[in-house]
């Protein structure tokens, strides 16, 4: 189902009217020209976005929806005529959409990392990145000197932490988004890597991993941001690990055969795909990190899992956006950054949203759905527990990069409920926002951002998880754009 026709026309008319009346339509990102979708990949203003109310352009804000959507993503793609060579290397910018009393207020600010401070002063790229080669004269004493803090966020101890994956979380004021420097979990853990995919127990405790070569650091922190436990394990091979999964009893680490076989910058150029190794699965006991077991599945590449759960017999199930081979390798996203992307550059294979079933003994099985999506999300009240639903973005357009559709898949029935935004919008990750007064999984809203390519605006859409195909419950709009992001949280 396409987005409501009236809303479609209204949003287009609004932007047209503003310019016809000579009113400024806020210039949102640096540089114009290029295809309309390029608004998702242009450098954001260095000063960020001051808090400004978004307009309710459709529906009515649901009673009880109160909170803040935080999103993180790369937002510095160019210095002069040079550009980042990979989408993952732009400096992180936090987008904050605060929802209260039926209103939504947007603000945004770059994370002021060591890397960003140095590069802004030099007015050029300096640091080696995931896929961008830096200046060899740029001093690097720890990974935090190249930390882009651009991948996700988590709230801990009243602070918002901007997350990368090879360095420390970067501490921020959750209201002003002012940067406060790197997070040190414990004196002896200063400068340790911390992945951008922490897993939050329903009781608020935060688990996460950090990777160096074959070694994996395991963190457990309280909701107060204090470290409760720390340990180490080893995955045997230097696999690239972006995300992982967790049940109520185990950490589930998917060791994809995308291996760092040499030490050259940028990082992604050091990775090689070794499908002959298959997908190894390391399962770690949360109560005793020395208790581990292994399982094996056919080779797959992945960036993102939804969440895992464990059945009575010990079978572990988790949803994963699997790919037959790695995507976003060397040069990933560079054409999007330059604005030269064409549909011919889309990989011949899309993700296959799958259920990975790991029995207590023996090989794991992969059950593929017909969904070609990524950025899976689950009800946070059930993280690590048995559940039915996954929300993800699916569908592609030949006219622009990114996804077009919000899908909610029910693992019990095998049915998928979807809403297609059409080929003039790019849909980003949608998050579960539980409805107050109920604990039912479907008693959730799904909230997420959309880039309206045609109107050159940004929208925040809210859906009822019971039936997303009915269209958004409400939509707020900003008369300007900000770059596409990666991940976020509803807090």
């Amino acid at each position: 189902m396409d987005v409501d026709r009236r809303q479609f026309i209204e949003t287009g008319l609004t932007a047209g009217l503003l310019s016809a009346c000579g009113l400024p339509t806020t210039a949102s990102t640096e540089g114009g020209g290029g295809p309309a979708w390029h608004a998702g990949y242009r450098t954001a203003p260095a000063e960020g976005f001051d808090a400004s109310p978004m307009r309710l352009v459709q529906g009515k804000a649901p009673t009880g929806l109160e909170g803040t959507l935080y999103r993180n993503g790369p937002a510095q793609f160019h210095y002069g005529n040079t550009h980042a060579s990979h989408w993952f290397d732009g400096d992180g910018m936090i987008q904050r959409v605060h929802v209260e009393d039926g209103m939504a207020i947007h603000s945004g600010k770059f994370v002021e990392t060591t890397k960003r401070t140095a590069e802004q002063a030099a007015d050029r790229f300096l640091a080696d990145g995931f896929g961008t080669k830096g200046d060899p004269s740029y001093p690097v004493q720890s990974s935090d000197d190249v930390n882009a803090a651009n991948t996700s966020v988590v709230m801990a101890g009243g602070e918002l932490l901007a997350l990368w994956e090879a360095g420390s979380p970067w501490r921020l004021d959750p209201e002003t988004l002012e940067s406060r420097g790197p997070k040190v979990w414990r004196d002896d853990l200063k400068g340790m890597p911390y992945l951008a995919h922490p897993k939050i127990e329903p009781d608020g405790r935060i688990w996460n991993l950090g990777v160096n070569g074959t070694r994996i650091a395991i963190y457990l922190a309280g909701a107060d941001g204090e470290l409760i436990d720390f340990g180490l394990t080893d995955m045997g091979v230097p696999a690239y690990l972006h995300d992982w999964a967790m049940t109520d009893r185990h950490l589930v680490i998917l060791v994809q055969p995308w291996l760092r076989t040499r030490m050259i910058p940028p990082f992604v150029d050091s990775l090689e795909w070794h499908p002959e190794d298959g997908l190894k699965i390391l399962i770690v006991d949360k109560d005793d990190f020395s208790k581990t077991r292994w399982a094996q599945a056919p080779a797959r590449a992945f960036f993102h899992t939804g969440a895992a759960w464990e059945e009575d017999d010990g079978t572990i199930k988790l949803d994963v956006a699997f790919y037959d081979e790695p995507i976003l390798g060397s040069g990933g996203g560079a054409s999007e950054i330059k604005g030269t992307w064409t549909v011919a550059e889309r990989p011949p294979y899309q993700s296959k949203f799958s259920l990975l079933v790991i029995p207590p003994k023996g090989d794991a099985r992969i059950i593929e759905t017909a969904l070609d999506g990524d950025f899976p999300q689950v009800d946070p009240r059930r993280h690590g527990l048995n559940r039915h639903l996954s929300a993800l973005v699916t569908g592609v357009s030949d006219r622009h990069p990114g996804n077009t559709t919000l899908s909610v898949h029910d693992w019990d029935t095998g049915e998928t409920d979807a809403f297609d935004f059409g080929s003039t919008r790019i849909a980003e990750e949608f998050l579960f926002a539980p409805k107050p007064g109920s604990s039912a999984e479907r008693d959730s809203w799904l909230i997420g951002p959309v880039l309206n390519i045609k109107a050159q605006t940004r929208e925040i859409h809210v859906f009822d998880a019971r039936k997303v195909s009915d269209g958004p419950v409400c939509t707020w709009m900003a008369d300007y754009t900000w770059p596409l992001g990666f991940h976020g949280m509803w807090a």
Partner: protein
């Protein structure tokens, strides 16, 4: 834990009688923890990379900064390595993946790339008139 090469050899050095000599005023700033000992080692071109310090000082840390004047330094080129042994265990503490967790720095505030600062970046000249180094701890 990695043992630092700085600590053990500083005190024992004997300088040859110099025809002329200068001083080096060293101030270390940006100290986070007011505990332990600041180990300051002076090196020449022959000793900077892996050799023993030819002069230096060990200073108890009680404030945001520490200062010392190294006396009777023959004119020439030198480099300084600094390590803040915050817990006085005689070692450069590192995190589980080998990154230092205690403060360190080099003369000229030179910074390394995946290692210590290079001699060419850290070296400075001492004359009869003496010189000063104000160094910010990493």
């Amino acid at each position: 834990m990695n043992r630092t090469v700085i600590i053990s050899t500083i005190a024992a050095c004997m300088l040859p009688a110099a025809v002329s000599a200068g001083t080096i005023d060293i101030t270390v700033e940006n100290i986070e923890k007011h505990t332990g000992t600041m180990h300051i080692g002076l090196y020449d071109a022959d000793t900077y990379e892996g050799g023993k310090a030819i002069n230096g000082a060990n200073i108890t840390v009680e404030a945001d900064s520490v200062s010392v004047t190294l006396q009777d330094i023959a004119p020439g080129e030198y480099g300084v390595k600094i390590f803040h042994d915050e817990d006085d265990d005689g070692e450069m503490d590192t995190n589980p993946f080998g990154i230092p967790t205690e403060g360190y720095a080099f003369s000229n505030n030179a910074k390394g790339r995946f290692g210590p600062a290079k001699w060419d970046d850290a070296k400075f000249v001492v004359t009869d008139a003496g010189t000063a180094q104000i160094i910010s701890l990493n």
